[in-house]
Amino acid sequence: MALYALTIQPPSTAKQAVLGDFIGSKSRQQILSACGSRLSLSEIDKEDQRFREFFSQDMFGIIRHIEKFRLTGGTKDMIALSTDSGRLVTLEYVADENILKPVHFETFGKSSIRRVVPGEYLAVDPRGRAIMVASLEKNRLVYILTRTGETNITISSPLEAHKPQALLYNLIALDVGFNYPTFAALEVDFSRADQDFSGAAVKDLDKELVYYVLDLGLNHIVRKWSEKVDRSSNMLFRIPGGDDNPGGLLCCGEDTIAYRHMHNTTEQVHRVAIPRREGATEDPNRKRIIVGGELYTIKGGEFFYILQTDDGDLFKIIFNVRKSGIRSMRIHYFDTIPVASSMCLMKTGYLYCAFESGDQLLYEMGSLAGDESDEATYDSSQFPTDPSLPYDPPFFRPRPLKNLIPTTTLPPTMGPIMAAEVANLTMEDAPQIHTICGTGSRSTFRTTRNAMNVYDLVDSTLPDKCSSIWTSKLTVDDTHDTLIVLSTHGGTTFVLRITDDVNQAYNSGFIEDTASLGIQQFGPDCVIQVHSRGIRHVRGIRFENEDAEQAMYDELTDWHAPAHRTVVACATNNRQVALALSSGEILYFEADSDGSLSKADEVISLECPINCIAIPTVPEGSVRAYFMAVGCGDQSVRIFNLSPDMDGEILKNVGMILTSAQPSAMIITHMKDKSPNGSSQYLHVGLRSGVYIRAYLDEITGDIYGSQRRFLGPEPIRFAEVVAAQDPAILAITSRPWLTYTDPRSGTITSTPLHYTPFDAAWAFKSAGFKGIVTVRGDILRIFDILSVANNTTQENIPLKYTPRKLVGYHEQQIYYVIESDNNTLDAETVAMLKAHEKSNGTGAIDKQGDTAMNGVTDTPEGSDMAVARIPYDETPAIDFGHPKAPHRWASCIEVVDPVTEKDVVHSVELRGNQCALSVALVAFESHGGELFLAVGVATDLVFAPKYQYKSGSVQLYRILQDGRKLEFFHETLLDAPPTALLAFKGRLLVGFGRDLGLFDCGRKSLLRKALTRDCSSSQIVHLTTQGGRIVVSDREQSITFVVHKEMVHPEELIPFADDTIPRYTTCVDMLDYDTTVGGDKFGNIWVLRCPPKISEGSDESNNGLQLKQDKAFLNGTPNRLELVASYFTNDIPISIQKTSIIAGGEKIIFWAGLQGTLGVFIPFLSRTSMKKLQSLELLLRIEDKPVSGRDHLAFRSYYNPVKNVIDGDLVERFLLLSHDQKQVIASQISNTDVGDLEETIANMRGLYAF
């Protein structure tokens, strides 16, 4: 077995984002973000404020830190990158070629992410003179950058500033102007604690703020100065320095933001405490930490900081700057946004936030100054420098956004994905991907489809039901269309005129009582109408004024088809017309100099009926298009030449392909691609069977080559030539519309369905006001536009209450049950009680300011439940402000989600008594006549750290009512340990609790145990799957165990008989067949394990399993071992894995979803030749196209375990991005293939199985 790994959606949770000018455009700023192993560059379009990713590349390495730097005199920012490659890499983005060019590869240590290998921290001197890379413990290296000549940047050998037995908490470079580069680090020296037997020393370890100065003259680094800072300090921010600014840094810790600088005295340190939230549900003693921040400098040298706490509250820090330095600083509440891993404040006043969870957002700074007067402001003079001294903690009341205005929505971010399932709930042709994403109050249930989003413009009703639509200009020089011509089912034609509005127009000269076959602006100022009896040629159509409904024209000419023959198909462009007659003849016309039709003497006569014809538009600078394609009833497509050949003859057959069904439509276009010219001529053929064929049509010889097929839908295909996101594209209309376009990322031609209602006909549309695509279905005319083709999926979101953990689908009723739980969070009941209490008391629980906003409330609620209903409006909704936190508390619920009809949560059951839901299953108990129950595994008082502990574990059963849309508590059964895995098995419930596996039936008051195997796996059962009588038990640490169920003995037995050879921290598992299992682990590996056939047979041989029990345990495990079939490192934690197909009519493949938002597939190879071909290609690409992160690709994919039987499709697809010469070089090294063949194989792997 060999697999082909493909990413269908790269991870979306940004690890870090950096703002800079990487193009060298001087005025514009781009966002460089690192997601998983991808680096991408994006920009915010000034005009339409749209977020546009213009570059993205897989680094094939784990990105740890990114920074930008620019040497003095440089024109653009460069990228410093630390990955797991053990190298410091500097990169330059070359805008002209759209590539990342490595500048330096400086190897400093071992690869991969280790305790003492530098790379965790990366700090760059603001003037770009030095880079410091550091590890968590001990190692720090400094590289000096200098410029030689105009463009070259040289990097020195590293200087060491190691300090053994010291942990590094944070590292920044200070702004010191042109003085020696200075770095500041937060360190803890734990050597004393390592020696101390009593354990007392660990409590009084100091945290030091250490300043390292790089002496450029002596070329060495000195530990210049250090001071003891608050033990909880975790973050540093630099203060602008140099000639005019004070310099120094902000040292942030728990409840502390302190201004410090080198050689400061206690008086020179200024500290403010972090204001705490006021409110009934907030613990007034909880201290906040700062998790991120961004400096903003106003022109003229003023600056301020915006810092974010772990609650997401933003605070503005304003400095009182005097000549002598900073005299004091003030802090006030700014706004509340979700916790961001990076914030980028742009010069244009936008704030880009890469949130840790959920969709990213772009804010506009409403008031940069952020009115200080309205907010409670705290000055550093109010607080002692030492946080251990007493002080009055500051408070603020969170409120809705005031200074920030959310603007553009950015591309959806799925990460973190908590679980996923592919299912076809709505019986569409392709299944949907259902995921539960996000954390806390920002959780969502998402339905993802492979479909392109469109932007709806107009929706109007027509007087009659129409079957075809065209738009037309009036003269060749018009910039936009004036006429919309519609052909009705009843065989009539009518005309609409486009002005500011769309109105019906009369007297346009067209024949109105016949159905049209084609409308074309022809010659300089004519419009032709092709109908079944001939051609109507109208010259000089015009309208008197803006509002005129009556058109005028100069001249009408009719050409009639020969007697007893009708026109069945036509193809037109501005200068050429071809008509197919029912007799199998094709007549050809060209435009005269005055635009009238002149028929060619040559006629093509074919033996078979003609279905469709296609002529491309006239190439620029030419008088005619060169080729015509004819789709014939004998399942062939023939190419005829329209320009005279060597013998001066036209309409000669120059090429032909055979198709699998009769062609229904054809179109020839030029589309952008990666060819040397930048575009190629393509022939698109739609068949009656719904298969779409795309092939190159040579512009000189008319040869057809490189054809690719794809099934789009069960109906005959029709085409329309349109424009999508400024580039030419093709609409293929079958049971649903598809767009064929140039994928901006790979530069290849791709097809994606549109996320739009089906329509019968479409045509490109361009008016003075807007442009787009006009479509018709029945009597509804719709106009839409495709603004971006960057994203080929659409998502529908349903907000959830808490962090979703698992989901189970009730597919017949089109609903999902989601269990949700939030650790360290106050549950809904307590929140409601506290809020009611606050209301009834009339004062807040914390009332430091005398701010009694609640004084007006006079009524006293009788009970807390009543009070819940009376709170009309929540001032701080959890979706914006998060759920209130409380240590060791759980908030948990079960929600019923209807993603199809109501698209909302339809029912919710809150768990009480500090319980949290861990696992869920839908079981039809045979003993209850197959009645469906929802089984939920819960734990009470669960604590993870420092030690996994709990009070109790139990399984709750819920009866399912009202078509699954309501849950009714049935009973609860206590177990020895929290049930972490549940599975419906043979009409009963299989429960994995702790290390034990039990089989339970449903009783009246509790579950009844039918079988139990103690210590079935070695640490904790986390997942169960089954086929037949075989159960695959996944262990938290020890991979998987195969268990067989023997029901013919009494008591029933669950016998483990095979397990794995190495530990795998399993997260998800699915069975590919009875013996083969695919799974993922916490370290990001995906592996396939197989039970040897003899052992598999042996396990099912006897009915009592006696011989299985008598087999001797082997090396503390089961008697037998599984075999490894495939292994691969993904750089994301697989959270769900499933054997399924994901496109319409696709084969079954392995689909997986990763925690950071990755969606990927593994495609089994069907042919050995294509496997060998891609394997050699992968091998060559590893050498020819080395990852720019400096990581060895083979080592990366073998991060924990050697890669086995998996070909990395992401690397293979990089082939498509290479230049033509590079492709040739690579292809020539692989036997029996060429560039086109390789491209086709690569495209087919994605096109036929995934999207």
Binding site: F190, Q195, N823, N824, L1155
Partner: protein
């Protein structure tokens, strides 16, 4: 003898360079401590693993990172008083 000395020196250089390199007298505590510190450093260093931990605890990534870093200081408790007691025994014997 010189070879032995050189081997010894090389080992010491290795131990100084790569923290956690074992030697003949590695105690159980030292070994455990190194394993734990390596594990914690690995969790902090791998972004998906840090995200996984932070979701489990319902806190933001920076908080989890700090918590794990703090645990690196003394992951398995204070060192046992082994050497001291043997030293005491020796003095008593004398």
């Amino acid at each position: 003898m010189a070879d032995k000395l050189r081997a010894q020196q090389q080992l010491e250089a290795l131990q100084a360079r790569y923290v956690g390199t074992g030697h003949a007298d590695t105690t159980k505590h030292e070994w455990l401590q190194n394993i734990q510190r390596d594990t914690l450093a690995s969790i902090i260093g791998h972004p998906p693993m840090l995200l996984y931990q932070s979701i489990a605890h319902g806190e933001c990534r920076e908080k989890t990172r700090i918590r794990l870093l703090e645990r690196m200081i003394q992951p398995v408790g204070p060192p046992p008083e082994v050497r001291n007691s043997s030293h005491d025994n020796q003095t008593q014997a004398q």
